[in-house]
Symmetry: C2
Subunit: 363 residues, 2 copies
């Protein structure tokens, strides 16, 4: 089917670009002997998890138990839930997943460790654990010092938990080529000291899991880290471009929209707003809600739920009602989560339609 036949807004993925993105990261990980456990929260599609595994991923990562359940269709040999699983219902469901594949949970508290140990005991199975530590992002994770040592001690003491190593998320790192980011240097130093200490304490981590898409290509520069969990790299987005972790032509995903109003001079309204793109802005301040492929001088500056406001005063080309345009989103992970389907395209032809199986699996 030609994309001209699709009802809009429709989320398109260029299959060639996606495949290139997947291969590039897989090759990078292989070259640097980094374990790749991609975060599937970006695509939420088992078929793409399957493709990541075929290209050499050691396992898959998810944020929620609901995503883990969905991603089992990809038959991962190994599944990391990079999020503390808290609550009896979720723990019971996680144990069902753990009966079917090797499951590891990243957590940062004795509370979460005890709950997990209890659930694993009831289910009569063993679960892997990564001790979550904070590399400076300030979200989850204990400090890389006494707190980490104490957390690992707790994990190792609790029955049915298998201490596997440590995890962190350097989400604040935007290391650019050829530039020294003092925070990147600091993390490297702290990580080395931490690993030295853990070795001395007899707590050597088998897995040192970090990485993000923005810092992806610098992962090998963090000595001691041996696993990466990038997510966004499968499609990329404007935020990835801004962080210089990809070029514009590496953005595989775009939203096909239709011009639905030209009533106001100098402005067009497209049929996608915050329920299509999400209202996530561009990293580093203003810059609108997406890039119009057909004319980057157009400024997608405002949105309501189903309306996108595009300022076309700087554009040379004319726009008319019914025109179909493509917009590259700021943040593809939250955009995918708003769509029922993704259309895999080559040129203007739809080759595949994926259901976004993990959409809205919040629990």
């Amino acid at each position: 089917m030609n994309i001209s036949e699709l009802d809009t807004p429709a989320l398109l993925v260029d299959l060639d670009v996606m495949e290139r993105n997947l291969r590039r990261a897989a090759d990078y990980a292989a070259k640097h002997k980094l374990r790749l456990r991609p975060h599937t929260k970006t695509h939420k599609i088992p078929a793409l998890g399957r493709r990541q595994l075929e290209l050499g991923a050691a396992g898959l990562t998810v944020a929620k138990v609901g995503e883990a359940e969905v991603m089992m269709a990809a038959e991962p040999p190994d599944l990391l839930v990079a999020y503390p699983v808290i609550g009896a219902g979720k723990l019971r469901r996680l144990m069902e997943v753990a009966r079917r594949t090797r499951v590891t949970v990243a957590l940062d508290s004795e509370y979460a460790a005890r709950e997990l140990s209890g659930a694993a005991g009831q289910a009569g199975i063993e679960v892997g654990v990564l001790a979550e530590t904070d590399a400076g992002f300030g979200r989850v994770g204990v400090d890389m010092g006494d707190q980490l040592v104490e957390l690992i001690r707790v994990i190792r003491r609790l029955p049915r938990l298998r201490y596997e190593g440590i995890a962190f998320y350097p989400g604040h790192i935007r290391k650019l080529d050829g530039e020294d980011d003092p925070e990147f240097v600091r993390i490297g130093r702290t990580l080395r000291q931490t690993l030295d200490r853990l070795n001395r304490e007899g707590m050597e981590p088998r897995i040192v899991s970090g990485g993000s898409t923005p810092s992806l290509w610098h992962s090998h520069e963090l000595e001691g880290m041996n696993e990466i969990r990038p997510g966004t790299y499968v499609f990329n987005d404007l935020n990835t471009v801004v962080s210089k972790a990809c070029a514009l032509e590496d953005c595989a995903a775009s939203v096909l929209v239709t011009v639905v109003s030209t009533a106001r001079s100098g402005q067009i309204i497209i049929d996608g707003g915050s329920k299509t793109f999400s209202s996530d802005g561009l990293i580093g301040g203003s810059g609108g809600f997406g890039r119009l492929v057909e004319d980057p001088r157009a400024v997608f500056h405002k949105m309501n739920e189903e309306h996108g406001y595009v300022d076309i005063r700087a554009c040379e080309r004319k726009f008319a009602n019914g025109d179909r345009l493509r917009v590259i989103p700021n943040h593809i992970c939250v955009a995918v989560n708003l769509h029922e389907r993704i259309y895999g395209v080559r040129g203007d032809e739809t080759e595949t339609v994926w259901k976004v199986e993990g959409r809205g699996k919040l629990q």
Copy 2:
């Protein structure tokens, strides 16, 4: 089921508060002889559309054809698509809906009118049309002058279209009790002049459709407007509170979340972020991403996809991992769109579970 058994994050709706909200608007509309055609984009649940009809709504409003298809389960006697329907596929689907109930479309261009007329002709049915005009919001709609007269002329000339009146959306109005909003006064004056002119031109609109939740209770002050289409009022949210169209105790919806990390001093992380609440801010600038019911001094100041950052430094109560809290969202319409289910509760007991049938029906 008690809400303590629900996996989080879970979207709860207090059934008593919701019923009160629905009745209040229905009573207001009846008292002022305003036709109520509530916008179902907020709840996206046919059972709630049904309830709105039971309480006297003349019909239902939707934004997209996909929502219209879903909302047919509420058996509306009348359905307004308050959005130009452009594109052959969508028009075909709309005609299927129009075979089953009386359908009206709001549109602002000759292009959209011709397309609709063509589709209606092919299907052999008649479709109602509201000429969309801009009351100053600057989104869709032609000017309330020559452009409107010309648009109505086009609509009346085209076969299979039934001219029903005019529609506008005063989304920029935040008229407060006892205060004169010059823009509200201006719209009132312009509307009167416009209606006078349309009457003179023999284009008297049967329906003059406007209104929004923020301006809901001032609708009767806009002389000539005889239909309102509020959406948010069913649940209300912090933005409605800010616009003084409801009190805090009228917010029927909250998200039940769990504390999943307390690793950082002065901060808790809850298991809901932009994939649970959306990243919509509070109208009028900063103010965080939601109000913590258990302690309003907590500041929900930042979010990632699945993490909410809550600053608890000003709080007296203590928080621990596993604590369950409720958060009232800034913008309930986009939050509902992220959830598969809504739990209707009385006190702490779940009485009803609704599937959000219209979630993600973007096309």
